[in-house]
Subunit: 187 residues, 2 copies
DNA sequence: CCTATTTCTAAACGATTGTTTAGAAATAAA
DNA sequence: TTTATTTCTAAACAATCGTTTAGAAATAGG
């Protein structure tokens, strides 16, 4: 063998993920990634193939971080109140300054065009489906919900969550709180 | 005087607007604008200054189109049901193929970074404020609503609308309908 | 018709994009 | 210490970005 890497891939990919999270895919250039990750373009390409590869690994990294919130939701026994708490937890998770930076997945969905990379599209739809399933499982805790209403409520909540994620980038904390309270008022 | 323009600015800006609406600001290049608007780069710069100028005019054009829906809402006498109808009207307004293309304003808000153009930022916040005010005015039709609840409901609805606009790009018509029905169920 | 003025064509501008590459620096194994 | 292999630096790649410009084409007023 020979010379050894001067960086750990899990460490630099987390820095890349934060850059994509704040700036989006297109706005984040290889030059910015070089600077933020602290390694040369050569090393980036050697480790991740290309910009798309860096992004796909960043999505994995993001999912790991979000899974902490989702696991908390899975373990909650408060039914729909657990989901409400997840909404609040997400706001904290996405907080940057006064406003938030949204969700890396929904940000990407918003930015994505029709001709976008299929691998990325797959990650996005898989991700959304998984979260919706967790919502549905939690809603099942209330035995009075039949299958059809659970499906409808889960669909409603995943779109509400999608909207909230985008809203964190533009609306004030008070407005977001107001939104969550109204969303769960009669659910 | 001398040679006359071979195009009408209101016509070409509508084509530009549709391009921005479908593709976003960054993804839309001057080359694409040239092709879609049917005029040369020179003419674009002569008429609108630069890419940002084209975009600002496109936002005005978009607002004119959306104002038709908003005027309908203003004239409705059904209280919150008028707003619900506005939500449905918007989905139709944003429809492209199976999915929608969102709202040019909210798409831009999602795409925008902190360092973005101030003129654009102003248009966005002004626009959001105006729509929220229309929501509030309509909610006042129900005399049982006091000022505080009107403010809260208007805030809730503007975020719900913001989320719906983004959601049209990703979720199916059935899911969107489900979302609207749940949103207005107990309002 | 001539001239002044404007629009249009088409090429080029410098900067930046994502990606590649040649060669120096480093290090494990012989 | 030499050698083989890998990482790293730094420069360059072609393509595209938004923008500018020189000159041809067109036309209203003299």
């Amino acid at each position: 063998m020979a010379r050894q890497k001067a960086y750990r891939e899990e460490e630099v990919i987390e820095k890349a993920m934060n850059l994509f999270w704040r700036n989006g895919y297109e706005t984040t250039s290889m030059q910015m990634l070089e600077k933020e990750m602290g390694i040369n373009k050569f090393s980036i390409y050697a480790s991740f193939g290309n910009k798309n590869g860096v992004f796909l690994e960043s999505l994995k990294c993001y999912k790991q971080k979000l899974n902490i919130l989702i696991d908390t939701l899975k373990q909650s026994k408060n039914g729909v109140l657990g989901i409400k708490q997840y909404f609040y937890d997400f706001i904290e998770f996405a907080k940057e300054n006064e406003f938030g930076k949204g969700c890396l997945v929904t940000n990407t969905a918003n930015e994505l065009q029709d001709g976008a990379n299929d691998a990325i599209k797959n990650v996005l739809s898989t991700f959304t489906g998984e979260v919706k399933q967790v919502f549905a499982d939690v809603l099942k805790q209330d035995a009075s919900n039949n299958e059809a209403t659970i499906e409808q409520q889960a669909d409603f909540l995943i779109i509400a969550m999608f909207g909230l994620a985008s809203a964190t980038k533009v609306f004030t904390p008070t407005q977001l709180e107001n939104y969550i309270e109204h969303t769960f008022k009669r659910l």
